[in-house]
Symmetry: C2
Subunit: 237 residues, 2 copies
């Protein structure tokens, strides 16, 4: 039997690259996508397209978390808070400074989101006897989220060993973060090598039919393609 | 403003005792109850009654997690797996042995459940600026679940500091487990002192109108009342 991996798939650039990396590593892919009331709902359609591309469209699980919107507290789930334009983009070398100076967390931070996603992925992985969970977090070219840091991932790996039956019985479920130390350009170069279908992904926080090109996520993506010496195949408004 | 605590409230004996303890500690109570497709659905009604008793009925949040049943793998969510009768009840002194010998995890274990509950509670606590999360886990008189151990809770506390904006900015959300080292009899004595409404709680895994008196949970509860020198006010079939 093929070894199994749960992939947290948003239909964005990073998580779709994780699909390609996990597939190359020989895993049977079990994608999991989350509807948490995010503005960028086009993600959900893209996740389905990406799963179809990897021939696991039937297997894609959509997990609905309406309570995150109800809890509020983030520009990604609350229409009362504007998604900021990224007028002053830091370059990659700045982001390490942030790790010591945590004051500047963006309004697009969703309280506890990645811990919640990883917890659900852990329940699913344990139920289907998967040995890995792929998540496309990135500590270098990221936007300042605390729950994208390597320390956070290391600690969740320790929690999983204690939280689960499989951990208590000497097995493991391991979080894989192949992108964590890569720049956006590195990720895109790796994805292009793996023929990741970037044309059917989107990264825009505003979630329109066409990407806005102005939010943090669009700016990082466009800069990544430029630095990778390639052209982003999606259309910007 | 009163300090706030999120209480993970099942409507069972332990979580209801946590309501009493948190109230005595001066917290405004924000109860959170989970519908994860468990058999013992009467829990949900009891949680409402308990919240009403503490005058926070309007504030009770019911979080629906249909995917846990979909994932399967537990007697509590899968009708194909029988809930066992507790024919050979270990006494409290046995349970420490289990901590080194983890092979014997019951079929009522729900994969990753407490990690998931605590993750959701963390999102909620961060959104409402609560400083504590109460969960009625118990390491002594428990039934062998890995995610009730003190080590697990300690590690989740560390994760929360890394996962959240409040943690990254020098604040904290702390998991409080006032029952973790208490016997069931200790818990009940403390609850009786605090006038916890045990008559409207239930602990039975089988979830009938009347408690079965035979599952792990019923047996532990009945023994607890006996050891506390009291009588359980609920009706057994």
């Amino acid at each position: 039997m093929m070894k199994k991996a749960v992939i947290i798939l948003s239909g964005g650039l990073d998580s779709t690259t994780c699909m390609g990396i996990a597939a190359e590593s020989g895993y049977a892919l079990y994608p999991l996508t989350f509807d948490y009331g995010q503005r960028h709902r086009i993600e959900l359609l893209n996740a389905q397209k990406v799963a179809d591309y990897y021939h696991v469209g039937q297997r894609l699980k959509l997990i609905t978390l309406p309570f995150l919107r109800d809890f509020g507290g983030s520009a990604l789930t609350d229409n009362q808070i504007d998604v900021p334009r990224m007028d002053t983009v830091q370059d990659s070398s700045d982001s390490k400074i942030w790790l010591e100076d945590h004051q500047d967390i963006p309004v697009t931070y969703v309280p506890g989101r990645n811990l919640l996603f990883l917890s659900i992925a852990t329940s699913y992985a344990e139920s289907i006897e998967a040995e890995a969970i792929y998540i496309g977090v990135n500590a270098l070219d990221y936007s300042g989220y605390p729950d994208c840091r390597p320390d956070f991932i290391d600690k969740v790996n320790q929690v999983i060993m204690l939280a689960t039956k499989v951990g208590a019985q000497g097995g493991s479920i391991r979080i894989e973060t192949p992108l964590i130390h890569m720049t956006k350009a590195d990720i895109i170069q790796e994805g292009l090598r793996l023929e990741v279908p970037y044309a059917i992904t989107t990264s825009c926080y505003n979630g329109g039919e066409q990407a806005c090109g102005e939010c943090d996520s669009c700016v990082l993506r466009l800069r990544g393609f430029a630095e990778a010496g390639s052209v982003d195949p999606i259309i910007y408004s």
